[in-house]
C-alpha cells in the first residue's frame, strides 16, 4: 500500500512535469500569422549555384509548404523532419558528411522546417553543407 502510494505520487509528479514542459513550449512558441503570406526560400546547391523560390501560402509551418511544393524530401527524426534532398539534390551525411543546413533570416535555425512558423515576408535558406 505504501509502495503504491509512492508510485502514485511519482506518476502525478511526472504528469505535472510534462504539463509544465508543455506550458513552457506553448508560452514561448513563436506565433504564426494567418492569411496569405509570401515567403522566399533560397537553395544553395553543392556546386554553389543558387536558386530562390517564392511561395504564397496560408500554411502555418514552413515544412508543410516545402513538402507540398516538392522542394524538400526528408525523414522524420527525433526532433523533426531531417532533410535529405532539396531541389532534386540529395545530401548523404553517411557518405561524405554532407547535410542541408537550414537558415532563417540569415541565422542558423535551431529547429526543423516543420517546427518553423511562417510570417509574411520571411526569408529562409537551405544550404548544402559538408562537415
Amino acid at each position: 500500500m505504501k509502495k503504491n502510494g509512492k508510485l502514485i505520487i511519482a506518476a502525478v509528479a511526472v504528469l505535472v512535469l510534462a504539463a509544465v514542459f508543455a506550458g513552457v513550449w506553448a508560452a514561448t512558441r513563436p506565433a504564426a500569422s494567418q492569411g496569405a503570406k509570401t515567403i522566399t526560400v533560397e537553395v544553395v546547391h553543392k556546386d554553389e549555384s543558387s536558386k530562390t523560390f517564392t511561395y504564397h501560402t496560408d500554411a502555418e509551418y514552413l515544412g508543410e509548404v516545402l513538402q507540398a511544393e516538392g522542394l524538400v524530401k526528408g525523414d522524420p527524426g527525433d526532433y523533426g523532419l531531417y532533410i535529405t534532398e532539396v531541389d532534386g539534390e540529395a545530401a548523404v551525411y553517411e557518405t561524405d558528411g554532407a547535410y542541408w543546413a537550414f537558415y532563417q533570416g540569415g541565422e542558423y535555425a535551431n529547429q526543423s522546417v516543420d517546427q518553423t512558423p511562417i510570417n509574411d515576408g520571411d526569408a529562409f535558406s537551405l544550404v548544402y553543407t559538408v562537415g
Binding site: L7, A10, V14, L17, F21, W25, G80, Q111
Partner: protein
C-alpha cells in the same frame, strides 16, 4: 572493505568477460540497434531506453558492454556529429538510475523511470549545444523539441510498462543460462 559492494566497483578479475559474455553482449548491442531501426518509422518510440534499463539491472557494471556496442553501431552507421557526444553519456545516466532502482519490481515504477528519461532527453542533450552555441541557443533548442520529448515520454512509458518485467525475467534466465549472474 566490507558490506555490499557496488557492481560498478568490482575487482579486475571479475570485470573480465568470458567468451559467452562477449558473444551475448555483442548480440544484445546488435539487437538493440536492429530494434531501433525496425521502429524508426514510429514517431519517437524507441526500444533503446528499455534495453539500457534491462542491461543495467541484469549485468550491473558489465551493462557498459552492450550499451557501448549499440552506441558504436550508431556511430559506424550514422557517422560522428554533435549528437554523438550526447550518446556517449546519456545512456549512462539511465543505466545508473536503473541500477540504483534495481530492487523495484512494479512495472509502473519502471514505466515512470523510462517516461521521465524520455521527457528529460532533450534537456539532458542540451548542454552539448551550450558548448557549441551558448546557453541561450541550448535552451531554445531544448524548448523547441519539447513536443518530441513528450512523445518520447509517452512511447517509453507504454513500451516499458508492457515489456520490462517479462523481459527482465528472460534476461535473468539467459544470463544464468550462460553460467553468469
Amino acid at each position: 572493505m566490507t558490506g555490499t559492494r557496488s557492481p560498478w566497483c568490482i575487482r579486475l578479475a571479475e570485470r573480465r568477460l568470458t567468451l559467452r559474455e562477449t558473444a551475448l553482449f555483442g548480440i544484445l548491442g546488435g539487437m538493440t540497434f536492429l530494434a531501433k531501426m525496425v521502429m524508426a518509422g514510429l514517431p519517437n518510440i524507441e526500444p533503446v531506453s528499455l534495453m539500457v534499463m534491462l542491461f543495467a539491472v541484469t549485468f550491473g557494471r558489465k551493462a557498459l558492454y552492450p550499451i557501448y556496442a549499440y552506441v558504436l553501431l550508431e556511430f559506424v552507421l550514422y557517422g560522428l556529429n554533435l549528437w554523438s557526444v550526447n550518446y556517449l553519456y546519456i545512456w549512462l545516466i539511465l543505466a545508473a538510475a536503473a541500477w540504483l532502482l534495481r530492487g523495484m519490481t512494479h512495472p509502473l515504477g519502471w514505466a515512470l523511470l523510462s517516461g521521465v528519461f524520455g521527457l528529460l532527453f532533450g534537456m539532458l542533450c542540451a548542454p552539448v549545444y551550450a558548448v557549441t552555441g551558448g546557453w541561450a541557443f541550448a535552451v531554445s533548442w531544448w524548448i523547441s523539441g519539447i513536443p518530441y520529448d513528450l512523445a518520447h515520454c509517452a512511447g517509453n512509458f507504454v513500451l516499458t510498462l508492457v515489456l520490462f518485467v517479462p523481459l527482465r525475467g528472460l534476461a535473468d534466465r539467459l544470463y544464468r543460462g550462460i553460467g553468469q549472474g
